[in-house]
């Protein structure tokens, strides 16, 4: 058999990709990790992580990424900033098309994660960076003593709304249901925070302003009534969308675009594995991403040993 450039190509440098890289490097695989932007992924914008075992006082997303990066560098993981444009998985040696060249590998771990979902309403793109934000830790301090809206009802929406109350004088938490989906401990904190006002059973239908965000149009789903509220900023945390567009139909995806995998993290294609938020999984956390990734690296190693 012809030989490939690499035993393993890991696509994505968030917690899943870095964990897979750590295990693969320690297994002495000939491995490269390709990251499109900067290492860290979504956890970079997380202000404070309280449910990561081993850190009783919590730690910031940035600190965790720095520690993980230090750890993979200690084992000489090869990391390159580049973008994967497409995969050709038709043969046992897989082809990975990058921005500037094609590389080949026996195995691939897809750990491309997910991106915040947009609302898809008018004004959302136009006011991005001018009051519309997906990142409280980046933009929260700009709203000192201002009024902001936060949209969503999950862990991220509630935790980041609590963070916003450090700066804003009022946070409207707008949720389409009549109860939150977030962890109970976060819910308790939100209900006890007098800066947070809840707007239940409502969705945002438009974001308005002249040069910056000034108003939100909100529709009450029970009454059908649309009203405007005055705000200075709008933070959007309504879930995530998987980063799988570049895959086309190379591996099987579920109806939402997440990658389908078995318990060995193998996708519909032999030798191609996945891990983390991009996978069709019931829970998306650091711990689950890392669990997926260690299994994916272990499975990749076994696959390579069998074919070589």
């Amino acid at each position: 058999m012809k030989s490939a450039d690499y035993d393993l190509v890991i696509i994505g440098g968030g917690p899943a990709g870095l964990t897979a890289g750590l295990y693969a490097a320690r297994a002495r695989l000939n491995v490269i990790l390709i990251e499109k932007l900067v290492l860290g992924g979504q956890i970079l914008v997380t202000d404070w992580i309280e449910n990561y075992p081993g850190f009783p006082n919590g730690l910031s997303g940035v600190d965790l990424v720095q520690k993980m990066t230090e750890q993979v560098k200690r084992f000489n993981l090869n990391i390159e900033t580049n973008e994967v444009l497409s995969l050709d998985l038709s043969e046992q040696i897989k082809k990975i098309q990058l921005n500037d060249r094609t590389i080949t590998a026996y195995t691939i771990i897809i750990a491309t994660g997910a991106s915040p979902k947009k609302l898809g309403v008018s004004g959302e793109d136009a006011f991005y960076g001018r009051g519309v934000s997906f990142c409280a830790t980046c933009d929260g301090p700009f709203f000192k003593d201002r009024i902001v809206a936060a949209v969503g009802g999950g862990d991220t929406a509630v935790q980041e709304s609590l963070f916003l109350t450090r700066f804003a004088k009022k946070v409207y938490l707008i949720h389409r249901r009549d109860q939150l989906r977030a962890d109970k401990i976060l819910q308790e904190r939100a209900f006890n925070n007098n800066k947070i006002d809840f707007i239940w059973n409502s969705v945002v239908t438009g974001i308005k302003g002249s040069n910056e965000v000034e108003k939100l149009s909100i529709k009450n789903l029970k009454s059908g009534k649309i009203s405007d509220i005055d705000i200075d900023g709008c933070f959007i945390w309504v879930g995530i969308t998987p980063n799988t567009k570049f895959l086309g139909d190379a591996v099987k995806l579920d109806e939402f675009g997440f990658i389908v995998a078995n318990s060995n993290m193998q996708t519909s294609v032999e030798g191609v594995f996945t891990a983390g938020d991009v996978r069709d999984t019931p829970l998306r956390q650091l711990t689950t991403a890392e669990g997926d990734a260690s299994i994916a690296a272990y499975s990749a190693e076994h696959y390579i040993n069998n074919i070589k």
């Binding site: 499109k36 932007l37 900067v38 290492l39 860290g40 970079l44 914008v45 997380t46 910031s60 997303g61 940035v62 990424v65 900033t81 973008e83 921005n99 991005y128 960076g129 001018r130 009051g131 934000s133 990142c135 830790t137 980046c138 933009d139 301090p141 700009f142 709203f143 040069n211 910056e212 900023g233």
Partner: protein, 108 residues
């Protein structure tokens, strides 16, 4: 501060940025911003490659609040490209090296 990158403040902004001979890329950042820290090394790399064609500057928005407010910045990291005192391009949020290279090549 890495080689080839200057730190600007409210007193030096006019001379270093608006009246600069070369185009200037200003990286608006703050110590509390995670993605700003993440994009830092990318900016340093660019300073190494394009340092002779474009001036690369960092502006701490906590210490110099009047500059971001003048340019309507409400999110960081924000990168603003200046040429002859005018804003010619603006990028908000985390972007990759290739997108930044593309933008710089368009301007210089």
């Amino acid at each position: 501060m890495a080689e080839g990158i200057i730190e600007i403040d409210e007193s030096s902004f006019d001379t270093e940025v608006l009246k600069a001979e070369k185009p200037v890329l200003v990286d608006f950042w703050a110590p509390w911003c995670g993605p700003c820290k993440a994009i830092g090394p990318v900016i340093e790399e660019l300073a190494g490659v394009f340092g002779d064609k474009i001036k690369i500057a960092k502006c701490n928005i906590d210490n110099n609040p009047s500059i971001p407010s003048k340019y309507g910045i409400k999110a960081i990291p924000t990168l603003i490209f200046f040429k002859e005192g005018n804003v010619v391009d603006q990028i908000t949020g985390l972007v990759g090296k290739s997108k930044l290279e593309e933008t710089i090549k368009k301007i210089v």
